[in-house]
Structure formats: C-alpha cells, structure tokens
Symmetry: C2
Subunit: 168 residues, 2 copies
C-alpha cells in the first residue's frame, strides 16, 4: 500500500479536481479521477457521458482504461485511485476488478455511492479483492464543484421554463 503525506494526497486530489473541471467545461456532472503509481499519474479520467453518449464513461472507468492502456496490463497493482466523489456501484466494481488496492475520495455520494454510502463493495469480504478506502481529502472543494453545477442547472431550467411561459 502506498503511503502519502497529507500534502501529497491534496496534490493528487487537485489533479483529480482539474479533471472534474474538464467535465464542467462541457456541462457534464463534474467528477474527476487520477490513478497514481510510484508517485506518477498513470491514468486520468473525467465524466464524459453526455459528450460521448456512453453510459459507462464515468471518471473512474476512463482513468482505469487509460491506466490499463499505459501499463499494458489489466492489473493495476500497487496503484492508488484518487477521485473527487465516492465511486458508484459500477465504478466500485470496476476498481475491484482492476485490482486497485487503494482508493482515496473527496466527498461521499449519499444517493449512489458504492464505497460506503449505499453499498460497501470495496471492503466486502465475500469478493476476491479488497480495497483500502480513505475519504475527506479536499472534501469541501470536491463537494462544492458538484453543488455549484446542480444549482446552475436548476437555475437554467427555471429560466427556460419562465421564458417559455412568457412566450405562450
């Protein structure tokens, strides 16, 4: 298991936040992810579902795919996955399947989280791979970018409704 100082954890979470900003720029739900091995980023990903019209293109899936490509292996042993928001059920399953031993996430996802909130997939003793999970790194920043996105989305919808009303 890789050991990180608090400063290193925050550094890599900021890199994940940079990925989340890429989603935000495309008006996608802003979640970002990086995978780190021996101090290097070996995979990056950001949510791109709407842009690419692919249901599976969550930040973690894109980062795992990128890391598999760069490593030439489906096994991401000795790596750490940093993600801004708690992984969903699909992504928690993918993390285990890719043999990632350590996950650090920013803020919890109470509605859909598969790594502590709805399910505890990463620490399930029945599965053949278990993952060490840490949370709370840059939690405020990771949650704020999401809240901001959803608030603006609601305002946009409200404005569109109002405009439609005025035209009718």
């Amino acid at each position: 298991m890789a050991e990180f100082t608090q400063e290193e954890k925050e550094y890599f979470m900021r890199e994940a936040l940079k990925e989340a900003q890429k989603s935000l720029a495309k008006e996608e739900i802003p979640i970002g992810c990086v995978i780190v091995k021996n101090g290097d980023i070996i995979g990056r990903g950001h949510n791109a579902r709407e842009e690419r019209q692919k249901a599976i293109l969550h930040a973690e899936i894109m980062a795992i795919d990128d890391a598999n490509e760069n490593e030439g292996s489906w096994r991401l042993l000795d790596s750490t996955l940093f993600v801004t928001i708690e992984p969903c059920v699909m992504c928690s399953g993918a993390i285990g399947l890719a043999r990632v031993p350590q996950v650090i996430y920013g803020a919890a996802n109470q509605k859909f989280g598969g790594a502590g909130s709805l399910y505890d997939i990463l620490t399930d003793v029945r599965l053949n791979h278990r993952v060490e999970v840490e949370t709370g790194i840059l939690e405020t920043e990771c949650a704020a970018i999401m809240q901001d996105f959803f608030r603006k989305n609601r305002e946009k919808k409200k404005a569109a409704k109002q405009a439609a009303k005025e035209q009718s």
Copy 2:
C-alpha cells in the same frame, strides 16, 4: 417491457452463446451478451479482458458500449440485455446506468453475481432505475461452456506442473 416467447428468448440467448464462443476461442472466460430492441440486436459483446488487457472489458460492458454507439445515445430504453452468466457488480451497475429495463441471463454466478446472488443491484429500490430480471434460459448450455473452460484450464495447469517436475 418487451415480451418474448420462449423460442425468442432461446434464439437471443443462442446469439449470446455465439459471443461466448468468441471468448473461448481466445482462451478467455467464455461469457457473451447481446442487447435487443424491437426484435433487432443493437449491441454485442464478449469477455476480452486478457486479449485487450482491459479490466472493464466484460461481455455486458462491451455490448452496452456497442449499443450506445449504434443508437447514438447513452440511454438504452426499451431494450433487453441477454447474457449467458449473471452480471457481476460492475456490470449490474452499468446496466442500471444505461437505463436497460430488462435483463435475461442464463446461469447464476454464485461467487460474484450482482443481480441476485451476492447483491440485488438491479432491483434495489434505493437506486433510481430498476430492472426486470429473468433467469434460467438455456441455463445448462450457459453453465456448461464455463465449467468446460475451467476444467480444461485446471488440466492445462496440471500438465504444465507435471512437465516442469519431469524436467527438473
């Protein structure tokens, strides 16, 4: 929800089994999947993890990606996913995220199944999408191809061990 006759269900499960045969030919765990909409196959997939060295390349993920591509949409409404073996946790999550309303699988996966065995992800009322699940279509054939693969794998390993012993 699409209605299928028993004959139609078996027809599409045989198409999924054809996909599983593609995995078998590459010495991969033989699982296959097709996604059907209005009587047509809109997505196909087979497990290709070893060949492509990608952890996420399960049959269902490949089929969902293929169907998203062909439909030009991440939402696979009004579709039915046929898969030879019960989806794992990752794939069950992906099926919900792609809004697939109906899953028909051949044989259960007692060790890793996310659609009834270990978890009930597809019917979890806390998640925002629920899926109708049916099982048992061509169950014997779907299980047999897996058992055959694992038996041959064990024999191969045993023979390799024996050969190494004789050489030493």
